[in-house]
């Protein structure tokens, strides 16, 4: 096994160990001590608005599949979809779900079916759609515009893999005077979201949805684990700078080169 492979296993075991540890010690804790993220507060607020006004939410899951680097964003979107469907079960109109990837479309429909069954929403006509609306960036954006322009849609939640075409979706939401909560993992698109969405989710905030929408202790444990690892990374970066200044950084370079 190479040094890289060994390091990978150590990192994986460290993450998994910390997540299990935090999920166990937080098992009996009721309060959710996480910093406020306006985007998730807005989602909870918009679910209440949809219940009271008889409107519906639009959740777009982007174009990410499950076999590439975009898979984590797509899976985070599916996790958020599950929570929103469960929380909006008493709405007159269920959320509308759109995707730009066939696999995610099938998984979204499966998530919708499973969540609807779990909350005893048996009427198939009430179940949200989860349809594939386009497989290229612009065909997806153009297809989603029809849903955003629906007068009954009170808020749009865009989470997943989007490029610059997301500006179409966020701008259309603004013209409809509906709230737009948006998050993606592509950096240029994050700049677009910051400028055009009413409630942007920046960086890793996209992956924190479960912890803020009550998806369970493991989601809160994920946040705690990320914080611990973030501190470790900060210490490593600062340590490397100090070593570099002191001129003894060849040791680190040897480790990174796998020649230890």
């Amino acid at each position: 096994m190479s040094a890289t492979g060994f390091t990978g296993i150590v990192v994986f075991v460290l993450f998994m160990g910390l997540m299990i540890f935090f999920s166990i010690i937080n098992k009996d804790r009721e309060e959710n001590n996480v910093r406020p993220i306006p985007g998730y507060d807005k989602i909870n607020q918009e679910i209440n608005v949809a219940v009271e006004d008889g409107t519906q939410l639009h959740i777009s899951l982007g174009r990410g599949g499950i076999t590439g680097p975009e898979s984590a964003a797509a899976l985070a979107g599916l996790s958020l979809l599950k929570q929103v469907i469960e929380k909006s079960s008493v709405c007159d109109h269920p959320p509308v779900v759109s995707t730009g990837n066939a696999v995610i479309s099938i998984l979204a429909q499966d998530t919708i079916r499973g969540s609807s069954k779990a909350i005893s929403v048996g009427d198939q006509r009430r179940n949200p759609s989860g349809e594939l609306i386009g497989v290229t960036p612009f065909s997806y954006a153009a297809g989603a515009l029809t849903t955003i322009r629906n007068d009954n849609v009170s808020a749009n939640i865009h989470t997943g893999w989007f490029g610059n075409e997301i500006t179409w979706l966020t701008t259309a939401g603004e013209r409809q005077s509906s709230s737009t909560i948006a998050g993606t993992v592509q950096l240029p698109a994050q700049a677009v979201i910051y400028a055009s969405a009413s409630d942007p989710l920046i960086g890793e905030e996209l992956f924190a949805g479960g912890a803020y929408l009550g998806a369970g202790k493991m989601h809160q444990a994920s946040i705690s684990t990320q914080d611990i690892i973030r501190w470790i990374i900060i210490v490593i970066i600062l340590g490397s700078v100090v070593l570099n200044i002191l001129g003894i950084d060849s040791f680190i370079e040897d480790i990174l080169a796998g020649s230890m």
């Binding site: 492979g5 994986f12 984590a72 996790s79 499966d110 610059n164 677009v192 055009s196």
Partner: protein, 214 residues
């Protein structure tokens, strides 16, 4: 026949395949199994695309009707999809059975219909991005939005290349913004995204997140 795989079996398959694929990255002897599973996943993705397109067609056929205000768009989509499908089938027959040059009609559709449409939509995106940047201060008048707005202006002003419009000190400021705060911020965001990606993957492997019905 309605086949229903019970949740524990589908969960066990998902976790097992995930662990084997992950182990393949770290343990060289498991590379072959990893590639077999990944290739199987790619084939299933292609089948899923077919299912998704059938789903898309079904949804839009259902939308056709006088009571739907957008039925005209649905009609265009259905016609375009069927015409492209027929063109693709004819091209396949001509290429593989008759032996004519590769996919001429399909290439024509992509070159003269798909590409101009996508290019013009890209141009519209530019306008939309300018509108978004210009309207940020109307949405949120705070210190971050003001900084964001003026950084956009500085980078644009520093990007001119025709001499009368160029100002040397703006080039320096633009380069500094791109190389120091923008690059540093981007790396910080990427590290955060990487951490989020790992924890999302581990939740799937542990079976606590299941993007499939229970």
């Amino acid at each position: 026949m309605n086949i229903k795989i019970k949740s524990p079996i589908s969960t066990a398959i998902a976790i097992g395949v995930g662990i084997v694929v992950l182990a393949g990255y770290f343990i060289p002897s498991m590379n072959d199994i990893r590639f077999i599973l990944l290739r199987t996943g790619l084939v299933l993705s292609a089948v899923a695309l077919l299912v998704g397109i059938i789903n898309l067609l079904t949804v839009h056929i259902k939308k056709l009707g006088a009571e739907n205000a957008n039925s005209g768009y649905s009609l265009i989509l259905v016609i375009a999809l069927l015409v492209t499908l027929v063109v693709g089938i004819i091209d396949m027959v001509q290429t593989y059975l008759v032996g004519q040059p590769n996919f001429q009609m399909t290439n024509w559709v992509f070159t003269y219909i798909q590409m101009p449409i996508e290019t013009s939509l890209l141009a519209v995106t530019t306008v939309s991005l300018i509108y978004a940047a210009a309207s940020i201060l109307r949405k949120r008048m705070d210190v971050f939005s003001i900084t964001f707005f003026f950084v956009i202006l500085l980078v644009l002003l520093g990007s001119f290349s025709i001499p009368p419009a160029t100002l040397p000190f703006l080039h320096v400021i633009r380069d500094w913004i791109l190389r120091v705060p923008a690059l540093g911020g981007a790396r910080g965001l990427l590290l955060g995204i990487a951490l989020g990606t790992i924890t999302t993957g581990i939740r799937i492997l542990l079976g606590t997140d299941r993007p499939y019905s229970d």
